[in-house]
């Protein structure tokens, strides 16, 4: 028993990169903001239909809806709070306030004759994320803390448990849905597909009669009863088997993928768009999305390799390796030198022996086509190197490092395009162009 408890505790409090929690904050916040902006007019119109008001949940005590002007201002305040939540600005205050506001706002929105179950998970996720340290990375607060060196942003259990809780709440809602099917009138008829077939037909006839858009594939599959048997079984496995997703990370990923497929299936067959689910945002917590922004690209030096250049082993200040004959690269290095906060960077041209020695312990080829940033034992290339360097400059330049959230494929494609044409557009020199005595002091090449 003790072992079980310890293993649960160990997985619940596993150290996790704060960036993962930050991604969940940005993802939930962005989805919510999209909703608020895209549905703004519809929501204002909806609340004018006071006859349809029937308060539910935490707002059950309300007898009358709010007046239109007040709701308009509340909607605006929600949008502002939502932006603060995404940016992670004064998150200790704005996080919980936004979480509670989202709960109230969406409960109010669902108090107009219909409960939209596809917002449940979003609100529960925001409630969790708003109350935890979800702004310790990729946020205004994190940037401020970095400036003041107040808090380290290494992997920590404080970032792990909220993610586990988000996963558990997600899994719990699907499990509840499965239980409702068994406990309802249909019970195990769901598993043989007949119940699903009639449910889908009812949904389709409603849409057909009331003039809504019907599902793209409904007519194709309705006549094939055996397909519903398979889909019924699949739904049961996904919903009732949901708790297994918490047992192992791999199972969690598989479950998330299958459930995501189920939602796309629902769309094709019933035309119901569960946007939070179909975009995959609800399942982000089962993956390590931060790795597609950083870890996947950083290359760690082989510490057993004795060929590290002395300059990297004794001095941990970051080193920028650049194409010394490229005018664009030389201009970039001068720009960095002028805008550094602490004159911490050192530089070497990729053509130098020093660069060759430095690159040897890393699994990268010196192809002159990429700027390189070495921090301690970690090497960054291309767009990631540029964005991380920008993050260490003064004035407003660090704000550009937020582009790290753009997928690597897109960022590096742009980088490669510019790199390919850099000589043609900006010209080249015969030897390293940094000849100013002031510049040379910062160079570490032999």
């Amino acid at each position: 028993m003790n072992n079980l408890w310890n293993s649960i505790k160990k997985s619940w409090f596993a150290p996790v990169d704060p960036k993962r929690l930050a991604i969940l904050r940005i993802a939930t916040g962005s989805f919510c903001l999209w909703y608020l902006l895209s549905r703004f007019d519809m929501l204002q119109r909806m609340t004018q239909n006071t006859d349809a008001f029937e308060a539910i949940g935490i707002l059950s005590w309300m007898e009358k809806p709010l007046n239109e002007i007040m709701f308009w201002w509340i909607s605006i305040a929600m949008i502002i709070l939502n932006i603060c939540y995404i940016l992670g600005w004064r998150f200790k205050l704005t996080g919980p306030v936004f979480a509670i506001s989202a709960l109230l706002f969406f409960t109010y929105r669902n108090s107009w004759s219909m409960i939209y179950h596809n917002r449940n998970a979003l609100v529960l996720h925001i409630i969790i994320l708003g109350f935890v340290a979800a702004a310790d990375a990729w946020s205004v607060d994190a940037w401020r803390n970095q400036q003041n060196k107040r808090r380290s942003t290494d992997a920590h259990w404080r970032y792990g448990w909220p993610i586990m809780l988000v996963c558990a709440v997600t899994v719990g809602s699907y499990f509840l849905s499965g239980v409702a099917k068994i406990a309802g009138d249909l019970a195990w008829e769901w598993a043989n597909g007949s119940a699903m077939r009639s449910q889908i037909a009812v949904d389709a006839i409603r849409k057909s009669i009331l003039g809504a858009e019907t599902a793209p594939f409904f007519n194709v599959i309705y006549k094939h009863k055996w397909l519903f048997l398979l889909m019924g079984l699949f739904t049961f496995i996904v919903e009732l088997g949901a708790p297994l997703a918490l047992y192992k990370k791999r199972w969690g990923k598989l479950w998330a993928f299958l459930t995501w497929c189920m939602h796309w299936g629902i769309y094709f067959i019933m035309g119901i768009t569960f946007r939070y689910q179909m975009t995959g945002l609800i399942f982000l917590s089962f993956f390590a999305p931060e790795k597609s922004f950083t870890n996947a690209r950083k290359k760690v030096a082989n510490k057993t390799d004795g060929s590290l250049a002395p300059s990297t082993t004794h001095d941990l200040s970051p080193i920028i390796l650049f194409d010394g004959v490229c005018n664009l690269c030389n201009g970039w290095v001068r720009f960095v030198m002028r805008n550094e906060r602490k004159r911490e960077f050192r530089f070497a041209s990729l053509q130098s022996d020093t660069a060759e020695k430095m690159l040897r312990p890393f699994t990268v080829k010196n192809n002159m086509g990429s700027i390189v940033l070495i921090e301690g034992d970690i090497l960054y290339e291309k767009s990631e190197a540029v964005l991380l360097i920008l993050g260490k400059l003064k004035h407003l330049w660090p704000m550009l490092s937020a582009f790290i959230i753009v997928p690597k494929l897109i960022r590096d494609s742009i980088y490669n395009f510019i790199a390919k044409h850099r000589y043609g557009w900006f010209g080249r020199q015969q030897s390293c162009g940094l000849v100013d005595p002031e510049d040379k002091v910062r160079m570490i090449e032999s």
Binding site: Q48, W112, S113, I115, L124, I127, L176, A201, I209, L210
Partner: protein, 160 residues
Amino acid sequence: MSFSQTQALIFSITLLLVTLSPIAQNWVKKPKDSFPLSYYPMFAKKRSQNYGLYYVVGEDTLGQRMKIPYKLSGTGGFNQVRRQINRARKNKGGLPFLKKTAHTISKKEPGLYGRLTSLELVKGYYSLERYFLYNNTLPILERKIATYKIENDEQLVELH
């Protein structure tokens, strides 16, 4: 916000229990759904081969009948409007609802409004198999709930 491990455990267990608590609704006499704590009752109801639903039908000057799309009958999304139509009969037999629908049509579709002579709130029963497998889209039965007549600003009202 900083939590100790004990506080984090309490927070986690509480939130999980609260999230799962609607499960009890499956076994109570009159279950009640809520937000964001739901027991997800959708698709759990038994459906027969014939299905009845409420909708609005308009009749034009030539006596042709047409179903009025949900977007002209209420506010909000599809399912929200469907529920508003279902509940319409509970308020004075559905007449205020039809009046409101007529007003919406006059604003959004003035051309259509000009041709309409009346609006009816009906409940139609359809065979699912016939409707989808044999393209027979006629109702087995259509019961009138209320009629709202549109005649030169003179509105005659008939309750069934």
